[in-house]
Subunit: 707 residues, 2 copies
Amino acid sequence: MDLSPLLKPQSVAIVGVTDDFSTIGGRVFKALVNHGYKGKIFPINSEHKQVGGIRCYPRLSDINSEIDTILIAVEGKEATMAIEESGKKKIKSAIIYSTSFIKHGEEARLENERIVDLAKKYDLLVCGPNSVGIVDFHDNITMSSSQFLDLPQLIPGKIAFVSQGGSLGEAIINRAQDNGIGSSYFISTGNEVVLELSDYIEYLLDDPHTSVIIALMEGIRDAEKLLHVADLALEKKKPIVVMKVGRTAAGRKAVNSHTGLMAGTDAVYEAIFQQKGFIRVFEPDELYDTASMLARNSFPKGNRIGIVTTTGGGSVILVDKLTEMNMVIPELASKTDRELSKIIADFGLIKNPLHLTSQYFSDPLLFPKVLEIFSRDENLDAVIIVISTVSGEQSKEIAKHIIRTAESFDKPMLTWWSGGNLSAPGMKILGESWVPFFTSPDQCVVALTSPIRYGKFLENHFGEKAPPLSISSSSRERIEAILKGSGSILTEDLGKEILSGYGIPTTSEKLSRSLDEAQKFAIEIGYPVALKIISPQIAHKTEIGGLRLSIGNEEELSLAYNQILDNVKKHSPEAEIKGVLVQEMAKPGKEVIVGIIQDPQFGPMIVFGLGGIFVEVLKDFSLRHAPLKEREAWAMIQNIKGYPVLKGVRGNSPCDLTAIVRVLMAVSQLAVDFQYSISSMDINPLIVYPDGQGVKVLDCLFVKKYQ
Amino acid sequence: MDLSPLLKPQSVAIVGVTDDFSTIGGRVFKALVNHGYKGKIFPINSEHKQVGGIRCYPRLSDINSEIDTILIAVEGKEATMAIEESGKKKIKSAIIYSTSFIKHGEEARLENERIVDLAKKYDLLVCGPNSVGIVDFHDNITMSSSQFLDLPQLIPGKIAFVSQGGSLGEAIINRAQDNGIGSSYFISTGNEVVLELSDYIEYLLDDPHTSVIIALMEGIRDAEKLLHVADLALEKKKPIVVMKVGRTAAGRKAVNSHTGLMAGTDAVYEAIFQQKGFIRVFEPDELYDTASMLARNSFPKGNRIGIVTTTGGGSVILVDKLTEMNMVIPELASKTDRELSKIIADFGLIKNPLHLTSQYFSDPLLFPKVLEIFSRDENLDAVIIVISTVSGEQSKEIAKHIIRTAESFDKPMLTWWSGGNLSAPGMKILGESWVPFFTSPDQCVVALTSPIRYGKFLENHFGEKAPPLSISSSSRERIEAILKGSGSILTEDLGKEILSGYGIPTTSEKLSRSLDEAQKFAIEIGYPVALKIISPQIAHKTEIGGLRLSIGNEEELSLAYNQILDNVKKHSPEAEIKGVLVQEMAKPGKEVIVGIIQDPQFGPMIVFGLGGIFVEVLKDFSLRHAPLKEREAWAMIQNIKGYPVLKGVRGNSPCDLTAIVRVLMAVSQLAVDFQYSISSMDINPLIVYPDGQGVKVLDCLFVKKYQ
């Protein structure tokens, strides 16, 4: 969608402007004037002749010139009237600041709907309502009431910020500007009755000023659109850094109470973020910290980190935190050792992290020399410098050394300055430079590791498409017939028939309608066998005695067969009995679960985990959106905490992981092919045998969608 | 130990003082003079007549007055000589700043030993070497070379900071002073060759100025001493906030490379911290943030939090983070609802979190009124205020309202100010007040929740002693005899005999020396039975075919008996066979593991978890130091992630948790009674039956200590 009329207007009209600069309309007007908007401004107010020296128009219809964007700072009905007039006047876009639309109750709901209708009718791009506005930092188009526009000057940059939070968004950008991190856009999306988060992201992916996008997310209206822009972002290699709020049930309740957005289950969002390469952070400050690292021209090439420190304790904290993020603190290259040994007195200290003891105070050239040597070390992909308290002039010297070295080498160089205001002179110099600088080790580690993980993700992402696993048209017809049949839950035999259609190995089995048939099938399948009652009304066979295992011979079989029928007659006299399933007794192996769930927003998702307790109690499962790529199926297996159990641990032989991947890919295809018919599916358990020996579905449960 | 000669000296001598104030000796001298030390200073330097206007002495022996503390800023041999002279002069204490002692190699090691010897010989309290010194903030005794002493004035307070990090400690205190958080003491412990962290903590527990202690910890020399001071701290209700660095293996390596301390396994430290009520944090800034909340007169009484916010998104972030820390965001009291409805226009907004939309800009009295109403709400134990960007004068007004309300009510009131420097005027006022104020939601949440958890811990802690579970002297003698017997691993029968001695239920079993005996025992025990080979050389019976289960009758028994002996003869021909154990086949139940491990520092620790995969792969276990209190045994069970499995989940009946507690208490007593004989012990599995039906040891493995 071309949002340039909204984001790059040549002319704006402001409805609700006053000369009281504490009102929203007044603030927007003042911001445009103060920051030197180059287009035309048409203030609209029937009670004023002029505002701030610019002529006012009583009504929109009094303006003869063309207007690109109308800025609406009046409430309720007045706002919808302004939209209507804009439409008639063929204005292309609008920003609605009005907050009356987030009021509770029927009236506000109807007014929101009215905006949607008008936008459709007049083909109008609408931002808001309840937006704090849009700011273009490169062209100083400051169509916003944001508090941060009180700053005398804005720092332009490569980071676009799309925010579903209004005042929190303002606050975040205020802090980024304080830290010298520039922006290309700030877009407050408001209630998103027309344009939504993904629309803005899609536009920004083509914006030449923007190389990283930040999203402060509360919830998504159109999940498919989000998935689409995520794929586009990966193609264009523009990273999206996201903070999703409403992670807990209590938090989601709080979201719903302050906007109209739906905040979905966090596990699903987390799965989507991981699968689509979103970079997720959990603290507001981390949004810009991380984005500013990503906005550099190059990402760190690997995860090997060198540390130069003036505090032993500080470097230990960093090593702990880096290691937990899968970074490596390698040995220094031997060339580095040699060079350092020429300038460092105590040979025992030459290692990574390198601790500059008191020698660093007495030898002012030691510090820059060490930084250079570290920057040249081919064993290191990035360098972190830890400074403790160094005051006054000396802190300035240090800052200058860091900036000079960072500029001379391509290698990322980050600083954690652990001291306080005594070091303010040096911190100020670093803060105003583009060299990343932090006062907390957590921030430093997050900012460094996110680009590394993103780079790794991109590396693996391309060159592989989800292979469409097509099934024969007769299989498809049969499955369609099964799913059209009666009952919301499929019996085990039918479920397995569907899985077999997708090439998933299941136990050999036959549905018998009589004891004679059962005995015939048992011989065909081979003893020992299991018997299971099959009835659409009986989902849990064990509880009512409808299941018998390890039946070894004909005699046992006839006993078991009759017992099962007796039990069913006793416990579920009304159950319609389709027959008794004669099933091979599968050899024992490791047990896993593979499932399909339909997320109300994102659609088909695939679940994988070890048996019930692991998934349900310990929450150790992985979740991905279907269709899966093969790489993603592998990641699903490798990402669960219990992976060592499958990989082989303590003398246990490794499982047939390739066979599990095949099942995941097939189930993914099934989920996509029949996403409108299948509500959920569980293979529980899938027995997994040692490597090369395959897998087998022991039981499965399909729940159909209510249609 | 009375450390007052070291911490409250009336007179100090400085060895190595110069008029170059960039040297350590010069800095210490300057700090004492600048901050107005009231005692006597004796500079010692043979080349100077005076320093800074104060007379120098060529040698220590030239001073006739009494000296409490000698401050040593010379290196290596000169330092040890100074210690020797101090001893001869009957000086009671010393701080050694010298860094030569942390050098690598034999020479430095011997010099450290020399200090230990001299300290013993002359009964000298020694801080360091490699200490950056000691600062008493209330009496301005600034015996330190710390950079933060460049601050013109120090803020005294109730928080004592004992730091194993030197320059990181300085940096942390620098930032706390910037934030207006005062200290009672800063003690840099250095290499701890004589006095160690726990000694200082013990002294500070009796210091009237100190109500909270902060410890920056790299490792502990004397674990028992730490446990002792932890108990004392709980008695005196002085919380200890700790940041332990070297949590990962890589981090521990980095600790070892920069001090001589041993950094133990993090799981053990974590267990000790939890058990002894230490408040652990993971970011340097959180040390003082948390301590300053604890230094208030009262802790929050519960976990019910009210939120007043000017940003919807900000409150959602807080709700997420608070909920994850087990806080509750309750409904407001009905009285609060009524009072709010008088001043808030949109009734739909009256809830917790309370979002002050734009009304808050137009109605300047709304904010203080809301704060008061929240402070009076009996449903709330604490209040958090979230402010986004508010600039200039308005930000000052807000800060003043917050301080005024916080002063009028006993209820803790914290502020997260999410905006940037535009709000600096207000932030400055808040920052200089005692009202807790943060610029990150994480910090805010950590600072609030730690005191709540500590208060809860104290509430539960007292009034219960670990009941000594005494065993009969004959049992004790028998166990001693078993543990004195040969072999480092006990056979299963002997292990179970020990456990039975402590009243732990084990499977019925008898050791047979012949088939006849086995058959007799099987009848006594009752079929079905299991047979197990018993040999000191065979730890893993299954692998060699030394185990047979579910033997149903005499015929099967004789077959199995002979097969086992054949298998053993084939696979372990040299094994000495004690007999074949005839064991009842225990009914199946849930399986758990109970174990003893001996930590090289902390001694006996008790482990609890579900079966092998849960403990070994998923690391889902709890660990506590023995002896356990009964409450701690309960917590061990409740704290594992798999607890719902035992408590009863999805229609499964709850297990006999009381019986597990009894086993944990007995094993704890066993671990203490025989801590010098037992190296490790595993009950694996302990079968747990439904509530009221007890537990049973199925197998166990004792490993003896090498003595």
